[in-house]
Amino acid sequence: MYLDTVRSLDDPERLRRLHELETVGLYQLEEVDLRHSSGRVIPTLISTQRRTINGERLDIEIIIDNSERKAVERRILEAAYTDVVTGLPNRAAFDHRLRNLSTQRPSGQGLALAYIDLNGFKSVNDRYGHLVGDRVLRGVAERLRAYVDPQHFAARIGGDEFVLLSTFPRDEPPTAAELQAIAEAICAVMLVDDSRITIGAALGVALTGEAVDADALLRRADILMYAAKATGRAVAVDLKWIDGT
């Protein structure tokens, strides 16, 4: 059966459904995307019964519009992967992205994980209150978002902890100076309710040009972040390759 489906005729799922019709004579409530004449994709659930009537082989199809359920599913999934305070991707989204990029990058691409821990954020909360603290977090997120593109992924993974996960051509790795500039940009003075708020940041940046264990990369970036913090500077970056490249 070929309706106005989105996928090609030899799509494995379509061939499986055809096999079901040939062998079992029916299938029920299969998820199939149809194409509206406007080009819009319509998620549906299709049940099909194959019949032979007076020598004519027919498929009788009942199609249920599944758009609303799919939209709800998508919203739930988006909520599960979004930090509610900043709107950035959250820890779960970061873990998912890190695991994919650790092992499945285009050849010739390296991976940089910048672990960002804010300095002085607790003082902001203590002095101005948590609502102002949240606005500072949103400000940091907004500044980080300026770096987000297909090669750069930003997330908030803890209270005052952020990450910037980047792919790069292996012969053009990011430098400590570039990361220092990013750190200084996200720590620029913020004006919140007429108060000039200053925060700092320690960045631990682990680089790799190889397929790497995601936990090892994260652990190394975390250690480098603590080394940066130990310098005592308001804004500090420690950057190292983890595979000796």
Partner: protein
């Protein structure tokens, strides 16, 4: 006893009036539509 013809006509009404999309097509690798009800045509934005 209600004649079968009456029952079949009622079933045609079920097909035509159903809010659920229904279609009948030839059982081929690339099939042809034989009948599609109004709900199906509305769903995919086409006319018969």
């Amino acid at each position: 006893m209600i004649p079968r013809q009456v029952v079949y006509e009622a079933l045609v009404d079920v097909f035509e009036l159903s809010p659920v999309a229904i279609c009948i097509s030839t059982a081929e690798y690339v099939s042809r539509y034989i009948m599609a009800n109004p709900a199906y045509l509305r769903l995919i934005g086409r006319s018969w």
